[in-house]
Every structure is written in structure tokens, then in C-alpha cells.
Amino acid sequence: MSIQLQEVRKAFGEKVVLRGVSLEVKEGETVVIIGGSGSGKSVLLKTIVGLLTPDSGRVLVDGQDVAALRRQELYELRRRVGYVFQFAALFDSMTVADNVAMGLRRVPGMSQADIEERVRESLRLVDLEGYGERYPAELSGGQRKRAGLARAIATRPKYVLYDEPTTGLDPVTTALIDRLILKLRDELGVTSVVITHDLASAYRVGDRIAMLHDGVIRFEGSPADLRQTEDPVVRAFVEGRPELLQEVV
């Protein structure tokens, strides 16, 4: 099973963000979506978990049409999908441990001891052992991102969606987060969709890379394909050379 986006369109008032995006993420692979600011990457990710509903087209997760699910069915699906937010979106009023435990409290049959053990395990995976009793305000940017990651993977989801997991982080912390993404793929076998601006990061973690431009997937291929592409729009983004866009005009 997998994640499939079929001709997804989404507009906010007059502004059309997605003009018919089609993409498939196969089981066990990590697909990186790159694209300029405001190109609709986060909107795309939110349609996968039903935070936004496409105006037309379909988003299928494990064969289920997300927009057609009843509320309880949607919550069942969300237990299989972890979501790492751009700014972590940790609950300010809770400790890191309570944040990580939130999703686990919705899993039927988990005792308090099971939850505590899983929280410790998840924090260990992201190298945040001993930070459980701290509040989000007491963490650095990188630690917050890792705490958000620990929360997203605590329920051992089949899919993890990362919304710019390395934005605003220093190169060392960025590399650390990238390694974590790979570690989760290798150790937990998760299927991932990663949104990023950071091309070094995209090359490191992506099995496939797709570029969203002007509301459609402009490029899709392996990291090697991306390096060799002749498409001026993609090259302009990858090489940071806006003058190449003039070739398109």
C-alpha cells in the first residue's frame, strides 16, 4: 500500500495553489518534495492527513480516499501517519514527555507503563533522553524539532510526513535530523514524505525527489536525475540561479 495523489487541486479564494498534482509514494521509500516558498508544499502535505480537503482530485492512503472518510475512520488513519510540523507545534503547556505521550493515549490497549516506556524509547531515538520533564520553551530550536519528531513517531506510524524538518537549523543539527530520518526508515521501516528547501538534505534523505512548481509536479526522479536535469526551472531552483528562468520566458 502507499500514498497516492491523483490530480489534486486546491485554491484559497482566488489563489490557486495546487493545479492538479499527481504523485505516488511507494511503501518504504522516502520522497522529498522541493519547491519555492508559497509553492503549496505544506498544503500538499496537509491534504494527505486530511487537515485540508482538495477541491478536486483524490488523496489515497492505503487505498482509502482521505476526503471521503468519516471522522472516526480519519482518526484511525491518522494513527498510522506521523506528522512533523515546521515549527514543531509542541504543546506549550505540557512537558516534552507529555507531548510525546499525547498520541499514545489514543492507542487502545496501551497501559500507563507501556506509554511511559514508549515515550522513553522515542526520546532515546531522537537523542533527547533526560529531556522529558522539560517544557518546550526550555529547548533549543533543534531540540524542539527532535521532540516534534519523537511525538510523531511515538505511535510507530507506517508513514511520517515532515514539513521542513531542517529549516532554520545549523548544518550540524540539520545533518543530525537527516540521519534520524534515515534511521527511522531503516530501523522502523517508515515511508516518508519530506518537504524541504534544503537541497543537501534532499539529496541525503531522498530515494526520489519531486519538485512542485506553479501548482504542478514539474520534476520527479532520483537524486541523480535531479543533478542531470536540463529543465531550466528546476535548474534555476537547484543551482540558485534565477537568471535561468528567463530561458523559460
Binding site: 487537515l51 471522522r71 491518522r78 510540523f85 507545534a89 499525547m102 489514543r106
Partner: protein, 264 residues
């Protein structure tokens, strides 16, 4: 030339039209929001353990400000009653005026307005911040219904606790009036109590508590509504907070009139 004159005449009308449509849309959205709150009420496992916490935060912690307002209101009521009667009406009627005014009107309304500021603003700012920092989306992704988790416990806590806060405020207002009567108006305790009992009806208390319950519902529901609709960062949170307080205060006055027409 003709066009600019035309615009000058139609601009105010366009503004009125747009405002009317926006207001109607806001009522519709609030109706839809209220529907989602009602649908979330059966989800007790989500909101059950949060209710006590919210009752403490919204209710118990509001008691000091309510008592402060009520004490001074009671003092002023007693003094103004005595000033108004000027010997034409027996002084023990001070007790009547303090009791009736506090219980029927000023206890619930002044407490409600104070709590529209304290509780409504607190809820709108908290939920608004959660909205703009994607914490509400995070709740969704963790398989929580945000309405059941954030709204239901606050609205229920408001409906349950506002009557208690108002009951304390009523008692404090009467106490303030009594102490003032004893010390500044040469009125004895039996005379003051005689006034209190003269026109007292148990329905007065019911009326006061019904009003308080409705105020608790609207203040918390509007705080949640505007918090959930917040967009645009810190400025948006400020706007949502202001709207929650203004709308909450206005609805208290509307409900105050409604209950007077409906029940008195």
C-alpha cells in the same frame, strides 16, 4: 468625474452591504461551530479529565476579581439607596434595594462583564496562539478532536462555574451593603435583614443563576470561536482576543435583556 461622484455615493452603501454580509456569515459560522461543539459532547473520554482543570482555571481563579467588584458595588448601592430615599422611604429599604439589585442585575451582569474580559480574553488568546502555531493541527494529527479536547471542557466549565462565581458575588455584594449600612447609615442588622427579606423571592436566586449559566456559555463559546478562527500571527491573536471580549460583553447585555423579557 461622474464615476468618482457615483463612487462617493455608493461607497457607504457598499460598506454597509459588506458589513451586513460579513455579520450574517459570522453568525452562520458560529452556528456551525456550536453544532460541532454539541457533536463533540458525547466524546467524554477526550474532555472528561480536562473539565476539573478548566473549572479551576475559569471559575475558582475568577472568584477574587468577582468578589472585589461585588464588595464595592454593594457599598455603593447601600450609599446611593440611602441618598435617594432622603427620609421619604424607611431606611430598611436599603436592604431591599441592595438585595434585589445585586441578585437580579448587578451580581450576574458585572461579574459576567468582568469574566468576559478575564475568561473570554484568556481563552481566545490561548486557543488563538495554539491555532497560529499549528498546535490545533497537531492535535488533529494525533487523532484528537480539537473541539472535544479544547472547546467542550471550557464551555462546560463556564456554564458550571459562572453560577457559583455569581452566587459568591451576590453574597459579597449584600455583605458589602450590610457592612456599609451598619457603619455609615445608622442602620441596625435586624433592620437591614428586614429589608432583605421584605420582597425576597427564591425565584430571584434562580433568575440570577440562569443568567449566570447563559453568560458562562456565551463568554466561553465566543472565546473558543474567535480563538479557533485566528489567522495571521501575534496581530491576529490580538484581534481575536479583542473580538472575543467585545462580542462576549455585547452578548451578556443582550441576554440580560432577553431574560428580563422572558422570565420577569
Amino acid at each position: 468625474m461622474f464615476r468618482s461622484m457615483h463612487d462617493r455615493w455608493t461607497a457607504p452603501l457598499s460598506w454597509v452591504g459588506r458589513s451586513a454580509v460579513a455579520t450574517a456569515a459570522a453568525f452562520g459560522q458560529f452556528g456551525s461551530f456550536a453544532g460541532s461543539v454539541l457533536r463533540a459532547v458525547p466524546d467524554v473520554t477526550t474532555w472528561g479529565r480536562l473539565l476539573i482543570l478548566q473549572m479551576a482555571r475559569l471559575g475558582v481563579e475568577s472568584i477574587p476579581i468577582a468578589l472585589f467588584i461585588a464588595a464595592f458595588t454593594g457599598i455603593v448601592l447601600a450609599l446611593q439607596a440611602s441618598y435617594t430615599f432622603t427620609g421619604a422611604i424607611p431606611l430598611y429599604f436599603v436592604g431591599v434595594l441592595v438585595e434585589k439589585t445585586m441578585i437580579l442585575e448587578l451580581g450576574p451582569v458585572l461579574t459576567g462583564l468582568a469574566l468576559a474580559g478575564r475568561v473570554g480574553a484568556n481563552i481566545a488568546a490561548e486557543l488563538g496562539t495554539m491555532k497560529v502555531t499549528e498546535q490545533i493541527d497537531a492535535l488533529e494529527t494525533l487523532a484528537y478532536d480539537p473541539v472535544a479536547y479544547l472547546v467542550v471542557p471550557r464551555v462546560l466549565a463556564g456554564a458550571i462555574m459562572f453560577p457559583f462565581v455569581v452566587a459568591f458575588a451576590n453574597a459579597m455584594g449584600i455583605l458589602g451593603g450590610w457592612v456599609t449600612s451598619l457603619n455609615l447609615l445608622d442602620l441596625s442588622t435586624p433592620e437591614f435583614v428586614r429589608g432583605l427579606r421584605l420582597f425576597f423571592r427564591p425565584f430571584d436566586v434562580q433568575f440570577s443563576l440562569i443568567k449566570a449559566t447563559s453568560f458562562g456559555l456565551v463568554v466561553t463559546a465566543l472565546g473558543c470561536f474567535f480563538g479557533f478562527r485566528t489567522t495571521g500571527g501575534a496581530e491576529g491573536v490580538g484581534r481575536a482576543t479583542t473580538r472575543a471580549v467585545v462580542a462576549g460583553s455585547m452578548m451578556i447585555l443582550v441576554l440580560d435583556a432577553f431574560w428580563a423579557v422572558a422570565l420577569l
